[in-house]
Structures are given as structure tokens and as C-alpha cells.
């Protein structure tokens, strides 16, 4: 496998924010997810559940509800009282409109996608008309007492069911009057004084209203008569979320205890027309409250305050026992939050509101394979750089020499010059920044720290020249030949500084020549999202990892896929490799071993040795442990190109430093969970 001295870094105190709401679009098969810190993420289910886009959070702009409407337009509303539409190409808020009803708790679009209904703190339900490029206030339904916490349209678009405190209401949309008022029981057990909050409602096409409330009940009501049809006590704590599938025969609910239940509409007897809602499957994938659930055609999707997104495909909807039926759990972002200054041995950690710069520790001891060496110099926290203002940081980078730190929020881009003088660190902000068009989505420094590359909107990449002793100049803006509307989100620069590869939201990879500042070529289109890019320092081959776990190698000088890449495609990758569930987030190279490609995802780190044969279906992919036990001679017959190490996980970052030392940044799930808000106590028998 090759031997490295590994810096095992566990001081990145990353805590992801909890998931507040989810919205699944059946049309584009995408999932929009909002976190409690106001960040928005977009997962593409077709591209192997890759998190393809992200809009950074905002202190004052929390998102309480999301919905897709009128095709692929995404709307959100939150406690600030604004309704926003998101620009999914430029990755920012397109516009926001004050609802004038106080904080907004719920948002839903009707079945035709022409109207938005919002439920406000002051007890009003407001209707907004969706126009091609904006939304317009239409009218307000009769205002009632009590905040509107949840609402749901009848599929016909004539009624709206609304959940408030202790009661449900049904509104007639045409007249705007409340036509039904249904009181919901308070707690089943415990003090009666505690009010019952209807956290979520759903209006089915047969006139049934389903409600989920804080007393732990899921109830079915007749909207015409206002009578209770069924009660299902689900939990001793609150039921927080509810979602119905499009065919209306399955419901998913999420509770405060972290459990997710499925309800199904099943016939009472085999072959009889009469059917009943039955609680069928419980799932306990979360430890904390499940505040958001969604139901796609084939899967239950749940997001909890433990920051986990869980996608549970339903066996009866997925044909066969294939890889599609596997459970997916996402805790870590599919983006790089760590950057490394190789020469200066520094690590830069990105948090929502600040950056941390650490100097790696060192050891003077040597040992044999597998030894844990004592640290002679402890890692040092050099700098904490706080970003002012309510916007969160969307990208950051540190130059390889460690003397420049750049980061960007949605609206502003910042560059700092860092100096190290005998154990003291001083930092100075570069004040004279050139005005750049569009916001930055990714930052990268060239290998000689002389240039900074800024990925921006509409496929453009700005090139800035870093000047001593602390200045910067705009050199050029590169644009692709073909018109692209999508923002660039991945960059890779060659070690000699001649080539730049940029991947955008439309998954096209453009290669530019940095010597002539013009487009060189584009990589042949491949219909899957790009998760990592890197250019080999010796051969200038571009290595591309896609979200369907394919790996390509593209020769930039000769503008074609390399022979090795063709061979891989003909032979096909090993099944064990293709069925990993996290994308490769970083690729790096070993200059001493040009045939090696180092890649990592959350659960493994792999050295891809191009000189060795590819594994066939019969051999096991992870054979490093068995190889270790074999003799030198026997080993030669069993080695294959994928050398996989699973010792370090969950892995957020991996980079090769000089002289065969490797830095890995881990963040154990348990460390995150202890930092989260307190969970609900669960009675376990025998404890």
C-alpha cells in the first residue's frame, strides 16, 4: 500500500446544523433541504443522491418552510416574515417579499402551481399569485386568532386545511371564510393545561384531513362533518412532521423521539373495497427530533435535528433486492470544508461564521508500521478569523505557502495576508479588493501562491494576482465558449500553473489555459454530477470523480481520455466500488509515485495504482488486510489497483504533505452528537 506518516487530526470541531424542512420535487427528482442556520442544500436523487448545490445560511434569515412550485422554482419562508424565491443557478436568494403577517410558519403551493399560501404568526393565511418572474400578493383569508403552524391545500385547490394551537380549521378559498373549526384533544396523559400544537396537517383528495400534534397523536378527520375518524397514538412526545405520498396511500410521520413511522391505506379484508389507515413500519434512524419528513414515490425521507438526512427506500416500491433498496444516511457535507497549506503545514477549517487556522503538530520519534508516535510538538491554534455581518461563509482557502487566507460570503469576498514572525502571527486585511462580478462559490490558490482563482456565476472564473506585501489585482475573467447559466462549484489548477479545470452546475468541465487566458477544451459531457477534480502534477492529466462513482482520466495536452481511463471503462469498475454511498470529495497525487492517485470519501481512503491490474468481480475489493498476511511472493498474485484503507473515518479531508506524510481530518459522529441539543428520554426496559 505504501507507507505514510499520518497526522490524525481530530480538532476540527465541526457541528452540522439540524435539518428544519424538506421538500421533494417529483418532477426533477430533487430534494431541497433547509437547515436551522438558514442554509439551503439541494440533493439530486438521479445523480446518486449527490448534494449538488448549496446556498449558505444567514443569521436573520431562518427557513421554516420550503416548497417547489411552477416547475422547478423553489420558494422558502421563515421567521423573518419574508417569502423568498431562490435562484438555483446563481445560488442565492432571487428576491424576497414581506408577507406583512409576522413570522411565517408554513408555506404550500396548490396542485397547479399558480398560488402560494402562507400561514403567519398573526393568524392570517395569505395567498400569493405565482407570476413568471415574481410573486404577487393576491388576498388574505379571514384572520383568526392563534398562529398558523401548518397548512395544506386540497388537491382541487378550493379548500385549505390549517393547523393552529388546539384546533384545525378549514377555509374555503373562493370566499375566504372559515367553514369548519375542529378542536383537537389536549394531551392523552400528563397535565391537561399543556396546549396541543398541530405541527403538521395534510388534506387528502377524499376530504380527509390528517393532523400530527404535540400530544403524540396522528388523527384522521372528516372535513365535511368535522368529526374524528381515527386516532393513532404514535408517541409519548410530540409528532412533529407529516408527509403524504402522491398516490395518497402512504403517510410518513416523524416524532420527537427520532422515530419515523409509515402509515398505509390497506384493505380491511383481502379483496374488499373498504380500506383503513394502518400504522405499518417503524424506523429509528435518528437520535434527535425529526422535524422534517418527505415522501417520494419510492422512499421515505427524514431529516432530524441530529443533522442526518435519511433516505429509506420502500422495499415494495423498489424492484428486486438491488443497490437502490439500500438505506442512505448523510451526515457530512459533500463539500470540502478544510483546506491545507502543504508547504507551511497549516490547516484552515471553515465554520459558518468563522475560520480557524491550525499548525500541525510534529513528532521526533520514529516507529514501525502501525505504531502510534508520541507528539513532540502539539498542534497549535494560530488564528481565529471571525466574519462580521449576518451572512455565513460559503467558501474559503489558504495558499500553499500559508501566507494568504481568502474567504467569501454570499455578497463579499475577503482576502487576508498572514505573517509569521518568530512564534507570532499577524494578519492584515487586503483593503483594496477589485470589484468582482457575481459572488464567489469556490476559491483556489495556485501552487506557487501567486494567483487566486475565484469560481463565480454563469460559468466564469476570475483570476486575481496576489501581490506582495499584501495587495491583489484582477488579471482576467475566463468564460466558457458555450453559454452557461450555472455557477462553477469545483476548480482544479495544475502544479505548473498552466491549466485550470472548472466544473459547473450543468456538469460541464471546461479547461482553460492560464498562460493564454483562453478556453482550451471541454471534457466530453458525462451525465452525472462531478464531485472532485484534480490535475496530475507530472503528466497534466485531469482526474474526474463523478457521483455515480465513476473515475475518469482526461489528458489535457492531447485533449482526450487516456488509455488507462478507456481500459477502466471497458473493464468496468468493481461492484464494491460502485456501491459506496458517499461521493469522492478530494483527489490528490503523490509526486514520487506518478502512477498513484489518492482519493477519499467519508468512509475510506484509497490509493489507485494505475500500474496494477484492475480487480475482477471474483476478487474482493478491500483486500489489504488479507494481503498483509501473505508472503511477498503470494502477495504479488493478489494485488490490484484499489488499495483501500478504512482505518480513518469519518473522513472529512485527506491531503498528502511532503516526504510521505499524510494528514487526515476526522470527525467522529459521537463527537457531533454530544454537541447537539438534548434528546428526548426514551424508556428502555432493563436500564
Amino acid at each position: 500500500m505504501g507507507e505514510f506518516q499520518v497526522h490524525r487530526v481530530r480538532f476540527f470541531a465541526y457541528v452540522p446544523a439540524g435539518i428544519r424542512c424538506l421538500a421533494h420535487s417529483a418532477r426533477s427528482d430533487r430534494l431541497a433541504l433547509a437547515r436551522t442556520d438558514g442554509a439551503l442544500e439541494l440533493y439530486n436523487f438521479a445523480a446518486n443522491y449527490f448534494q449538488e448545490k448549496g446556498i449558505p445560511g444567514h443569521e436573520t434569515r431562518s427557513i421554516e418552510a420550503l416548497c417547489w412550485a411552477a416547475g422547478d422554482r423553489l420558494f422558502g419562508a421563515g421567521l423573518s416574515g419574508d417569502i423568498s424565491e431562490y435562484d438555483l443557478e446563481k445560488l442565492r436568494v432571487k428576491y424576497s417579499l414581506d408577507g406583512f403577517g409576522g413570522p411565517i410558519w408554513s408555506l404550500a403551493a396548490d396542485a397547479h402551481g399558480t398560488q402560494l399560501a402562507v400561514g403567519c404568526e398573526d393568524g392570517s393565511v395569505k395567498l400569493f399569485q405565482i407570476l413568471p418572474d415574481k410573486i404577487q400578493f393576491e388576498r388574505s383569508l379571514d384572520r383568526q386568532k392563534g398562529r398558523i403552524l401548518s397548512l395544506s391545500w386540497h388537491p382541487s385547490g378550493t379548500r385549505i386545511a390549517v393547523g393552529s394551537i388546539d384546533l384545525l380549521r378549514v377555509f374555503d378559498v373562493r370566499s375566504g371564510h372559515s367553514i369548519q373549526r375542529i378542536l383537537v384533544d389536549r394531551c392523552l396523559q400528563g397535565p391537561q393545561s399543556r396546549e396541543c400544537v398541530v405541527w403538521s396537517v395534510a388534506f387528502l383528495s377524499d376530504g380527509t384531513i390528517v393532523s400530527a400534534d404535540s400530544a403524540g397523536k396522528v388523527q384522521f378527520w372528516d372535513s365535511e362533518k368535522g368529526t374524528l375518524l381515527e386516532t393513532h397514538p404514535v408517541s409519548s412526545s410530540a409528532v412533529l412532521s407529516l408527509a403524504v405520498c402522491e398516490t395518497e396511500d402512504s403517510i410518513v410521520v416523524g416524532t420527537s423521539e427520532g422515530a419515523v413511522y409509515q402509515f398505509q391505506l390497506l384493505p380491511l379484508k383481502w379483496g374488499s373495497a373498504e380500506s383503513q389507515w394502518v400504522r405499518t413500519k417503524p424506523f429509528q434512524h435518528h437520535t434527535h427530533d425529526v422535524r422534517a419528513v418527505a415522501h417520494s414515490a419510492t422512499a421515505l425521507i427524514s431529516g432530524g435535528l441530529d443533522a442526518q438526512l435519511v433516505i429509506r427506500p420502500l422495499m415494495e416500491k423498489v424492484h428486486g433486492k438491488s443497490y437502490d433498496a439500500a438505506l442512505r444516511k448523510f451526515t457530512y457535507p459533500h463539500r470540502r470544508l478544510v483546506s491545507c497549506a502543504k508547504k507551511a503545514r497549516l490547516l484552515l477549517f471553515q465554520f459558518p461564521q468563522h475560520l480557524e487556522l491550525w499548525k500541525l503538530g510534529a513528532t521526533s520519534a520514529t516507529g514501525k508500521d502501525g505504531d502510534v508516535l508520541p507528539v513532540s510538538r502539539a498542534p497549535e491554534h494560530l488564528l481565529q478569523l471571525k466574519s462580521k455581518g449576518p451572512e455565513h461563509i460559503c467558501c474559503s482557502c489558504v495558499s500553499p505557502c500559508g501566507s494568504w487566507v481568502a474567504y467569501s460570503t454570499a455578497s463579499r469576498f475577503h482576502l487576508h495576508r498572514v505573517r509569521y514572525e518568530n512564534d507570532r502571527v499577524s494578519i492584515k486585511r487586503v483593503a483594496a479588493m477589485p470589484k468582482l462580478q457575481g459572488s464567489a462559490h469556490q476559491l483556489l490558490c495556485s501552487a506557487d501562491s501567486s494567483r487566486l482563482l475565484v469560481a463565480s456565476d454563469q460559468g466564469s472564473v476570475h483570476i486575481l494576482e496576489l501581490l506582495e506585501p499584501g495587495g491583489c489585482r484582477h488579471l482576467q475573467t475566463l468564460r466558457p465558449n458555450s453559454e452557461s447559466m450555472e455557477a462553477v462549484y469545483l476548480l482544479a489548477v495544475s502544479a505548473d500553473g498552466d491549466w485550470l479545470a472548472a466544473a459547473g452546475g450543468d456538469w460541464a468541465i471546461n479547461i482553460y489555459s492560464l498562460r493564454h487566458f483562453k478556453p482550451h477544451c471541454t471534457v466530453p459531457a458525462y451525465n452525472c454530477a462531478v464531485t472532485a477534480l484534480a490535475i496530475h502534477p507530472v503528466t497534466n492529466n485531469l482526474v474526474i470523480a463523478h457521483s455515480d462513482q465513476q473515475v475518469f482520466e482526461f489528458s489535457i495536452p492531447s485533449r482526450e481520455y487516456t488509455a488507462w481511463s478507456r481500459k477502466v471503462q471497458q473493464h468496468g469498475l468493481h461492484r464494491g466500488w460502485l456501491e459506496r454511498d458517499t461521493p469522492i470529495t478530494h483527489i490528490t497525487f503523490n509526486p514520487k509515485e506518478p502512477a498513484h492517485i489518492l482519493l477519499h470519501d467519508t468512509h475510506m481512503f484509497c490509493i489507485l495504482d494505475k500500474s496494477l491490474p484492475l480487480p475482477d468481480a471474483a476478487t474482493s475489493l478491500m483486500n489489504q488486510i488479507t494481503l498483509k498476511q501473505l508472503s511477498e511472493k503470494a502477495r504479488r498474485g493478489h494485488v490490484h489497483a484499489f488499495k483501500i484503507c478504512k482505518k480513518y473515518r469519518p473522513l472529512l479531508f485527506m491531503e498528502l504533505l511532503d516526504e510521505g506524510s499524510l494528514v487526515v481530518v476526522e470527525r467522529p459522529v459521537m463527537d457531533i452528537k454530544t454537541q447537539l441539543p438534548p434528546p428526548v428520554q426514551q424508556k428502555k426496559f432493563g436500564t
Binding site: 436573520t60 459521537m670 434528546p679
Partner: protein, 226 residues
């Protein structure tokens, strides 16, 4: 407490001085005055009453002053009007540096933003108005009506409190992460280390309280022993 004992001591000294003065004056007269027992007793009593009254008044005044200060601090804390360093400055001296006032709409860095400013209009303004605004570092601001801001943020706070109360308030049966995750450890055949080890920063408030109580107790003991 210390202030109270101090004042009491001062009062005692004052009384002693008065007594001395009285004896001295009586010493000056050649012929001692005839003072009936009743009169002397009455005089002594009024004297004592007066002393008691002044002491009580002093105490009440002090109490009142302390209460007012406490209120001011409480209000200050509640509204978070100004950061601590400004408060410190306000209390230490009446002069306020203009450039140290926080600008809520200002965006930028807390490190290394120099006083230079590229905004032309701002420069002109700076030249026009001489002294008080010359130290303002940034001109990038926008005007907002504070009244609206307050109202929306207040509504937002209320809404957040509602969620917080319903998810984490009393009766929601929440436990700490340590307890929650130790259940698994309890039942599993392989016992692992605790999820969290005791951190020295925990219970800082209680520790501080205990420390103060001990100090106070010691001081009362010392005073009584004297």
C-alpha cells in the same frame, strides 16, 4: 456587607467622639451643673434614639442606592444596550470616543481593516464635517427605521421562544446527551468509555456561587470574632 459594617464602625466612632466632647465640656465648668437623674436619662435616651435613627437612615439610603444600581444593571443586561467595554467606559468617565461606538449596520472585519476608505463621497463628507465624524471608519451603511426593526425582531424572538418552549421547555422530558448515550453502553456486553468526560468548565456558575458564599461567610466570621 463590608460597606455596612464599615458605616456601623464609623457611627460608633462618631458616638464616642460626642461622648468625649460632652465630658470635656462638663470638665470646663468649675461648678458642676445640677442634673437630675430623669433629665440625664431623657437626654441620653434622645441621644441614643437619634443615633439609631441616623444609622437606620444611612442604611436605608445605602439600600436604596444599591437597589437602583442593581436595577440599572439588570435593565442594561436585559436590553443588551451596549457592549461591556463601552459600559466600563461610561462608568469610568463621561467622555465617549466616537470611533468606539459599535455600528450595527457595518459589515467587514474585526481584524486589520485600516482607516483608509475608498469611498469618494465619504471622503468628501469627512472633510466637510470636521471633528466628530472624522474617526468613523466605514461609510458603508444603509438607513433603516429602528422602530420596524425592533418590531420584527421582537416577533421573531417570540416565535423562536414558542418553538423552544414546545420542544425543550418543561414537560418535554429531555435528558443530556451523556445520559442518553450511556443507555447503550449499559446493556452492551462490551463496556466502553463514557460518551463525555467531566469537563472542568461545567457548573461554572454553581462553583462561582459557592466561592462567593464562602467568602461572605468568612468575612462575617471575621467581623464577629473582632
Amino acid at each position: 456587607m463590608a460597606a455596612a459594617t464599615c458605616s456601623r464602625r464609623a457611627m460608633l466612632q462618631k458616638d464616642a467622639a460626642a461622648l468625649e466632647a460632652a465630658t470635656a465640656s462638663s470638665g470646663d465648668d468649675e461648678a458642676p451643673e445640677e442634673v437630675t437623674f430623669e433629665r440625664a436619662k431623657a437626654a441620653a435616651e434622645t441621644e441614643r434614639r437619634r443615633a439609631g435613627e441616623t444609622a437606620r437612615r444611612d442604611k436605608a439610603l445605602l439600600k436604596e442606592r444599591r437597589r437602583r444600581r442593581e436595577e440599572l444593571f439588570k435593565e442594561q443586561k436585559k436590553r443588551k444596550l451596549l457592549p461591556e467595554n463601552i459600559l466600563e467606559e461610561l462608568t469610568s468617565g463621561p467622555r465617549i470616543d466616537n470611533d468606539k461606538l459599535p455600528n450595527p449596520t457595518k459589515e467587514g472585519e474585526d481584524v486589520g481593516d485600516g482607516s483608509e476608505n475608498k469611498n469618494e463621497g465619504n471622503k468628501r463628507r469627512r472633510n466637510k464635517r470636521k471633528k466628530p465624524l472624522a474617526v468613523r471608519r466605514k461609510g458603508r451603511y444603509m438607513a433603516v427605521r429602528l422602530k420596524d426593526q425592533d418590531l420584527t425582531s421582537q416577533h421573531q424572538e417570540l416565535a423562536k421562544d414558542f418553538v423552544q418552549n414546545h420542544l425543550y421547555g418543561p414537560g418535554t422530558n429531555r435528558i443530556t446527551a451523556n445520559q442518553f448515550f450511556s443507555f447503550a453502553n449499559k446493556k452492551s456486553p462490551v463496556k466502553k468509555a463514557a460518551v463525555q468526560f467531566v469537563n472542568k468548565s461545567w457548573g461554572a456558575e454553581k462553583k462561582q456561587k459557592a466561592k462567593q458564599f464562602k467568602k461572605r461567610w468568612m468575612s462575617t466570621k471575621m467581623v464577629s470574632s473582632i
